[in-house]
């Protein structure tokens, strides 16, 4: 009961935060219209076999959802700085319920970002079958799991001064090297990117529309990062009882 209540308040607070609306909703939507609208008639973007509006729709959905999911780290660092984590530890709220509230509200925000980008995509002529929409969304949501753990980890590792630039830089870098802004070639960058969870997030559209899902390598990369980062995040939380 208390867990549900905490999630409700967490959501309320997220919805009231300006940062979320700017970084996770406003920014990706504006960029989407700026890049995709002039290229709305490009049906095969750089040999990917995917139209420009579709490619950028998913690229910016990856960017926006990454920003939304990683912002939980910013929120955690901020709450640590004011001693809220210590305060919560002397209430009956359980650790896992605290994290659940963080993850659930981050996912709901990511869902909002995805919904608005899909809507914008449709306005720019993106037409997909129901199965393709669903498959793409499913891969996006799964691809966000390691990033959710990364957000929590950074929230406990970094101070409130460091976490903002770190999250912003991380989101931009991951989005860039993973091909959110433009399809990657087949060079070294691509090889490196394939080891990153964000690459597979961006590839959700590719996989859903053409290849019928992530290859085994994609699942493996996402699973490995999920497990590794979750373990580190749990460890960071347990050791983080000090006054900041």
């Amino acid at each position: 009961m208390s867990a549900l209540a905490y999630t409700r308040y967490e959501l309320l607070r997220t919805l009231r935060s300006k940062r979320f609306f700017v970084m996770s909703l406003g920014f990706p939507l504006a960029i989407y219209f700026l890049i995709a609208a002039p290229n709305r008639n490009v049906t095969d973007l750089a040999g990917t076999g995917i139209s420009a509006p579709t490619y950028y729709m998913i690229g910016l959905a990856s960017f926006g959802t990454m920003a939304a999911i990683l912002s939980s780290g910013t929120r955690i660092a901020g709450e640590r700085a004011v001693g809220w984590n210590r305060q919560l530890r002397v209430t009956p709220l359980r650790t896992r319920d605290y994290f659940r509230a963080k993850v659930v509200s981050a996912y709901l925000m990511a869902g909002l970002t995805i919904g608005l980008l899909y809507l914008s995509g449709t306005l720019l002529g993106v037409r997909l079958s129901v199965g393709e929409w669903l498959h793409m969304t499913e891969l996006l949501l799964i691809g966000l799991i390691p990033l959710a753990a990364l957000g929590i980890l950074c929230g406990h590792w970094l101070t409130t001064d460091a976490v903002g630039p770190a999250m912003g830089g991380l989101t931009a870098t991951l989005a860039f090297v993973s091909g959110a802004w433009y399809p990657l070639g087949h060079g070294l960058l691509n090889t490196i990117a394939q080891g990153l969870p964000s690459y597979w997030l961006v590839q959700a559209s590719h996989a859903a529309l053409g290849a019928g899902g992530w290859p085994a390598k994609g699942w493996l990369v996402v699973a490995a990062w999920s497990v590794g980062l979750s373990l580190l995040a749990a460890h960071a939380y347990r050791n983080d009882t000090k006054r900041v």
Binding site: A5, L12, R16, E79, R86, V90, P92
Partner: protein, 342 residues
């Protein structure tokens, strides 16, 4: 002194088992024994808590008094399970701190705990209420703490005193059996402070156990059943505030005296200590009547003479002062603690 409490608590449990294994006496609220905590800092290890014993009976209101760095907040952290003691053990209502917290029997107002933003005062207090199984009515608590008029205000827009009251409301609304308040009235104006203590008294009268840390001596004096005085990580006195004052029952003679010769002043009958700031001298006196007569004889040039009772502040300084090593202070005061005999 504290070891006495240890003995009394010891008698209340089976002689064989350790504290952790043995069920605590039914009356026990908080039992801490032999707590030690050392922190590693860049300047070297800091022994923040050096063997603290504390026994708080159910329904008792206890003040933890001491200067900054005395180890009050660290002790509170250990009592709440926010830190693990290097040595010693804590039980809260006969259970581990973590379990007492998980059961919603403890609510705390930490010194560093700030409010989270983007919630209204009412929502913030409502959030605290939602976390506790036996929470009180939110509107009633807002009224009690004088926050009804601010209920719709966002937490980030409150003044320091309003924030403090909101934090208090969040602790109070829990309906927890133990309230732990670390310097609760810092930043409150006189009126809020008065209202705060009225509320605490009502909660205590209803059976809530209250532990508060403060360096407002008047508060400890006025509102606590018992005062536990800490200095340099140790409990240096433990008893009713009246007894602490009686123990030190000294008076201070203040006067304006132009030149030195402080050694002569110290030699006057009845004078225990001399402090000088420029021309102002303060004589701490065991027998102020003898001291004033001798002073006027010896120093006819003494002007602006005042004699004042020392009060708890003076007792506090005496007991925690550098002049005497804290661990050598012997307080007969503790022998008179009635509640620990229960």
């Amino acid at each position: 002194m504290a070891p006495l409490a240890l003995d009394e608590a010891g008698r209340a449990r089976p002689a064989s088992g350790t504290l952790r294994e043995a069920p605590a006496p039914a009356v026990a609220g908080v039992v801490a024994r032999g707590l030690e905590k050392t922190f590693a800092t860049p300047q070297g290890a800091v022994r923040a808590v050096r063997g603290v014993d504390l026994l708080i009976a159910r329904g008792e209101t206890v003040a933890l008094l001491g200067p900054n760095g005395a180890g009050k907040s660290t002790t509170i952290d250990l009592l709440l399970g926010l830190g693990r003691p290097d040595a010693g053990a804590v039980t809260v209502f006969g259970d581990s701190p973590a379990r007492a917290v998980a059961a919603g029997r403890v609510a705390a107002m930490l010194q560093t705990g700030e409010l989270i933003r983007d919630l209204s005062v009412r929502e913030f207090v409502g959030l605290a209420a939602a976390l506790y199984p036996a929470a009180l009515d939110v509107d009633q608590v807002l009224a009690t703490t004088g926050l009804t008029g601010l209920a719709g205000q966002r937490t980030q827009k409150l003044s320091g005193g309003e924030r403090q009251r909101t934090r208090f409301a969040a602790a109070l609304v829990s309906g927890a059996a133990l309230l732990v308040l670390d310097e609760p009235t810092v930043g409150m104006d006189v009126e809020s402070r008065h209202a705060f203590w009225t509320t605490i008294r009502a909660a205590a009268a209803a059976g809530t156990t209250v532990l508060f840390a403060t360096h407002y001596l008047d508060e400890a004096d006025a509102y606590a059943d018992r005062v536990v005085l800490m200095s340099a990580g140790r409990v240096v006195a433990d008893g009713p505030s009246t007894e602490i004052k009686a123990r030190v029952g000294r008076k201070v003679i203040k006067a304006t005296l132009p030149d030195g010769g402080d050694a002569d002043l110290r030699a006057l009958p009845g004078v225990a200590a001399v402090e000088r700031h420029g021309e102002a001298v303060a004589l701490s006196c065991g027998d102020s009547d003898a001291a004033i007569r001798a002073l006027l004889d010896a120093r006819p040039d003494a002007r602006d003479i005042e004699i004042a009772g020392a009060g708890l502040e003076q007792a506090f300084l005496e007991l925690t002062g550098e002049s005497r090593p804290a661990d050598r202070i012997d307080t007969p005061v503790a022998a008179g603690r009635p509640k620990e005999r229960a």
